[in-house]
């Protein structure tokens, strides 16, 4: 059991990433594809925070914790994930704006029909 839990978080991150990729590749609707991309993004957060975790540690916030009294988890990976959550959402918005434009220009959001249009 413990041997599994030592790698389980990484495996879950890999699974979520692959599931998102599968959805991207087989999607029949660009809006759905953008949703799948945000699933892929979630995998990176899981991986980052899993790398930074430490057994029995607490959050790296010292407002109610005497410094040095308890081990804390790695704050660096948390900062990486934190900024990317918000910035990733605005990039998702940019992609959705592109989808709206595609729908306006071509009247469809199905990637297969779009490539047929191009000939």
């Amino acid at each position: 059991m413990t041997a599994l839990t030592h790698v389980l978080p990484y495996l879950v991150a890999a699974w979520v990433f692959l599931a998102g990729c599968y959805g991207l590749a087989t999607s029949r609707n660009l809006i759905h594809a953008v949703g799948c991309l945000s699933v892929c993004q979630a995998a990176t957060y899981v991986l980052l925070l899993a790398v930074g975790y430490r057994d029995g540690a607490t959050a790296p916030v010292f407002s109610d914790l005497a410094p040095g009294s308890r081990p804390v988890v790695d704050p660096v990976v948390q900062a990486l994930a934190l900024t990317d959550v918000v910035v990733g959402a605005t990039v998702t918005a940019l992609l959705l704006a592109l989808v709206v434009q595609v729908a306006k220009r071509h009247g469809t959001v199905d990637p297969d029909e779009l490539s047929e249009l191009r000939g």
Partner: protein, 99 residues
């Protein structure tokens, strides 16, 4: 105890991520993505990352699904014309849903 919590949260994340990909209708997908956002926030809290949990909760459960739904609405209003004018695809062509 902590270990059990982490494992549960991880399995929930894996499950809801799979569901978010398997659901093909974008409207339902955005609701599943909101659930995924909440589950991820729980996982991050359990992993002792309250900062990330807070931003995931705000973004994942509200902002991203809202943007997806607004896009669906825009695209579907156009799609109604395409369907009325003799075929063509639109946002409603979701196909089978459910994991």
């Amino acid at each position: 105890m902590t270990e059990a919590l982490i494992v549960t949260a991880l399995l929930l994340v894996a499950g809801s991520a799979t569901a978010a990909v398997a659901v093909r209708d974008p409207v339902r997908q955005s609701l599943v993505l909101a659930v995924l956002g909440v589950v991820l926030a729980v996982l991050f809290t359990v992993l002792q990352a309250p900062d990330v949990a807070l931003s995931q909760l705000a973004v994942g459960s509200a902002l991203t699904p809202l943007l997806l739904l607004l896009t669906v609405r825009k695209v579907r209003r156009r799609g109604q014309r395409a369907a009325g004018g003799g075929g063509g695809s639109d946002g409603r062509r979701g196909g089978g849903s459910g994991p």
